[in-house]
Assembly symmetry: C2
Homo-oligomer: 221 residues x 2
């Protein structure tokens, strides 16, 4: 069976978990405390990052490269649209979340509030937390603007753009940092993706020291 070395709240790991589950690739989850950099882990991935996926006799790192591989080898169901234009848009938005949103929001809220504590790096820097709380509004507005014109973030079909976005937002939702009331259209989108079977494992995550809030796994949040 496939094995995913991951950390529960890592958005990159969550994105891969969602893609694996949508494609019904069964996968054992192994929690990896990547910041401890143990030698087995470094042997699996010299990049020293999670996710690391063991599949088809290969050990793979880099979530974007992993997902393109899955898409080529396990094309059903597809997680990229059909035309080059639409595929471009899905990839652009996945990168938007994994680069820009990650830098401006996830690293400022989740990493300050949770990762620092878990890794024993001290207290959140309130300047960062404030900056992240400010920036997430602008990203939710951008999503609302997209979703006013489209069923899913990148167009009429669900794609890696939705999984990347949902991976970051679900991790932030675990610490109640997403204001779902800001835009009905964004809340509807999240309700839709949250109710997919592929989301179940993510809704079951529990982080020691951070009790899951009630709304987190509630489909009527």
């Amino acid at each position: 069976m496939a094995k995913l070395y991951h950390f529960p709240l890592s958005p990159f790991c969550r994105k891969v978990r969602l893609c694996l589950a949508e494609k019904r690739i069964e996968c054992e989850l192994v929690e990896e405390r990547y910041w401890e950099q143990d030698t087995d882990f470094l042997r699996r991935n010299p990049g020293a990052k999670v996710p690391v996926l063991r599949l088809d006799g290969k050990t793979m790192a880099e979530s974007g490269a992993i997902i393109e591989y899955l898409e080529e080898v396990y094309p059903d169901p597809p997680l990229l649209p059909r035309t080059p234009d639409e595929r471009y848009e899905a990839r652009r938005l996945a990168a938007w979340f994994d680069d820009k949103f990650h830098h401006e929001v996830t690293s400022k809220l989740l990493y300050e509030r949770v990762n620092k504590k878990v890794m024993g790096l001290g207290y959140p820097d309130s300047k960062n937390v404030k900056a992240g709380a400010q920036k997430i509004k602008y990203h939710l507005d951008y999503m609302a603007w997209l979703l006013d014109q489209r069923r899913w973030l990148a167009g009429d079909t669900m794609s890696i753009a939705d999984f990347a976005a949902a991976a970051h937002l679900s991790a932030l939702d675990y610490i109640s940092d997403v204001d779902w009331n800001r835009h009905a259209v964004v809340k509807d989108w999240y309700a839709k993706i949250k109710s997919r079977p592929a989301f179940r494992s993510i809704l079951a995550d529990q982080i020691p020291g951070f009790p899951q809030p009630a709304h987190y796994s509630d489909l009527d949040f």
Copy 2:
């Protein structure tokens, strides 16, 4: 004609320039002072980053998504290998450079020494410069280890992995921050890619305030 809004030393822009040139897509270069965030620029890319490519009546951002698009619509010559395994490896290594190398090296050396001055943000932070100078050694060692077993970084064919790596290293070479004598095999690889016609425009770049060093454009460096 296509138009690329870029900044000369940006590794993400250089990667796209190399891919466009290999595919012989003629392209006008427009220098974009992206940190000034003028409104036309923000209209073209709400992400406010370069590169931004105007091609086929579309305006595109995110270098990775742009390159996958080019690969699908202008497949000749291919910049990704043929099998899913090899394609995975090329994408993984491109991401290695654009994520890990960028974070550990490019942002610590190039952004400290050049971008800060160009943007009027003051002097390099010597702690960062030292950290970058230390880390680049480890990355050159990793490249040497790969190139001991392969003709190109990701395998037997030149790929986006080589262009991503060459984009970062060429920008660092402009400020003489690459020790080409560390590994003959890395130097040979760079000599090979540097002598390609696609590299010419990059070797002609000039940054006001930072005179081009003699070895930079020399094919016998």
